[in-house]
């Protein structure tokens, strides 16, 4: 389903939904995050796959988020995520810390349709101690009672939101080597994808493009959003905009500074478009 805009995609996501977002090195749809802020989304539960960055920080700052499950929240070179840190301290969000491969594993369990998957490591970490939803059992293939191992439950997000380089006429999307987005899409009930452009034909008919495609089977809706990952990089199309993120990090140190940034970068551009 091809929609008019990232705002039309954001309108499909109800308050309270569990929304999976890839990290700043793997094609988050910042365009949808901004649209969620414009629509005034509330109570979202975000899943960072496996960590969270810019999109998560602006959604938290705008008050859209009730809960974050992630392995880290960071703006990379620009430092700690300021709105995340403030919201945590003020008790406005619940944070469920995980570790990167645990998030991948919980999504892979959903992808395979199994109720759980095991993962090595973790035993003795306070991450595990604070996750009553994770279990330690003796490895059933070891001698009785030996070799404790962690089992992680399957996690099925309501929505996967990410950005891709292009969509084709059949609704397949192409995002190259960023295959974690495929796993997120497979595991989620719905995937909403912004793309730079639409092209003719079918990626699945082209042996060169097929391996970097995600089939329309998994894609609920797409919309064009040029530079829809910005300030995050898109493969070889555009780079990470360090100046933009650093300026954001400085502005978002205070609530006031964040509000001004939001007005200038999220609300004003949309009003300008609407007025044109």
């Amino acid at each position: 389903m091809m929609l008019q805009s990232p705002d039309a995609l954001a309108a499909l996501i109800p308050d309270g939904a569990l929304v999976a977002i890839p990290p700043d090195n793997s094609l988050p749809s910042v365009a949808i995050a901004k649209a969620l802020i414009r629509r005034g989304a509330r109570g979202l539960r975000l899943l960072g796959v496996p960590v969270s960055g810019f999109a998560t920080d602006i959604l938290i700052g705008a008050g859209c988020v009730a809960e974050v499950e992630t392995s880290a929240v960071s703006l990379g070179e620009a430092g700690f995520a300021p709105r995340f840190s403030a919201a945590l301290k003020e008790g406005r969000i619940t944070v469920r810390d995980a570790t990167c491969p645990a998030i991948h594993t919980m999504l892979q369990a959903a992808e395979k349709g199994v109720p759980f998957m095991p993962l090595r490591g973790l035993i003795g970490s306070d991450i595990l101690a604070n996750r009553p939803d994770w279990k330690v059992v003796p490895n059933p293939f070891a001698p009785a009672g030996e070799d404790p191992i962690v089992l992680l439950p399957a996690k099925q997000p309501d929505f996967a939101i990410f950005h891709a380089a292009m969509a084709d006429a059949e609704g397949n999307v192409w995002l190259g080597r960023r295959r974690e987005c495929a796993t997120i899409a497979h595991a989620s009930k719905a995937a909403l994808v912004t793309v730079e452009r639409i092209v003719e034909g079918s990626f699945l008919e082209d042996e060169r493009l097929a391996p970097g495609a995600i089939s329309a089977t998994y894609v609920t809706a797409t919309a064009i959003a040029e530079r829809g990952a910005h300030p995050v990089a898109l493969l070889d199309a555009y780079g990470f905009d360090q100046d933009y993120v650093s300026a954001y990090a400085r502005a978002a140190r205070t609530e006031e500074g964040f509000r001004a940034w939001l007005e200038a970068e999220v609300f004003a551009p949309a009003q300008k478009v609407a007025a044109e």
């Binding site: 990290p23 880290a72 491969p101 991450i127 080597r177 974690e180």
Partner: protein, 248 residues
């Protein structure tokens, strides 16, 4: 003039090449780690056969399955050495990347644990690296454990910390007694100055050598071909340490 970053990179390189440790045929380096990355390039450009997976290299990123692949690769036993740091590191080599105070870091929140709770177990060798060497970082007991330094018998674990390198010294880690020992002092440091800056107790041998200077050959490589390799991913670091700009 040897820059502190150059000394640290050369020190890490020596630890990588430690003949007493299991071989480091494939090393992965995580985000925002210019000095470990420089150490790895130094090892490789000295001609040692090592495969490097630099996670945040944009061009030539080695992974085609997304970020999951690093963890799968490590699970397979193909990664021999990884680097970890921590907002707090304690005397048993426990790492806290989550934050101080009550869980999940209600004092000072750090970014989060990333893959540490897995990588620390599944990699045969981990080199801990943290430039800041102060009692607030090197604590007696971490407030929260992202990844433990040692595990009870029967818990599957391939390895743990080999060493901890800071801006002041090199510690070796001894998992059998869950304790660090002082291995070498960087210039200007004494056993006493290190003890004052360290929140945990550690062993001190009778004589503690000074951390060696990088050799001329190492310095030439660092300033030349290592910098060439790093400038795309770490432009700011290369400018600051080596005065090189990207256009060069």
């Amino acid at each position: 003039m040897i820059a502190p970053e150059e000394r640290l990179a050369a020190t890490l390189a020596r630890l990588i090449l430690d003949p007493a440790a299991p071989p480091a045929r494939h090393i992965a380096v995580g985000a925002a780690s210019p000095i470990p990355a420089a150490a790895c390039w130094l090892v490789k450009l000295m001609g040692h056969p090592v495969r490097l997976s630099l996670l945040h290299r944009r061009s030539g990123n080695p992974f085609t399955e997304g970020t999951r692949e690093l963890f799968d690769l490590t699970g397979q036993g193909r990664i021999d050495l990884f680097f970890l740091g921590g907002g707090q590191i304690d005397g048993q080599a426990n790492l806290n990347l989550v934050g101080t105070g009550e869980w999940p870091g209600m004092g000072v929140r750090f970014p989060g644990s990333f893959g540490s709770a897995f990588m620390y177990f599944m990699t045969p060798r981990t080199i801990l690296f943290r430039e800041e060497h102060s009692p607030r970082v090197l604590v007696e007991k971490v407030d929260n454990i992202s990844a433990p330094g040692v595990s009870p018998p029967g818990v599957f674990r391939r390895g743990t910390a080999q060493a901890l390198v800071t801006g002041r010294c090199v510690f070796r880690f001894h998992p059998e007694r869950a304790r660090f020992s002082l291995a070498s002092l960087h210039p200007g440091e004494t056993v006493e100055s290190v003890r004052e800056a360290t929140g945990f107790a550690f062993d001190v041998p009778e004589t503690v050598p000074q951390t060696p200077d990088p050799t001329e050959a190492e310095l030439a490589l660092l300033r030349g071909r290592v910098c060439d390799e790093m400038i795309e991913t770490y432009p700011e670091f290369c400018r600051r340490v080596w005065g090189r700009s990207r256009a060069a």
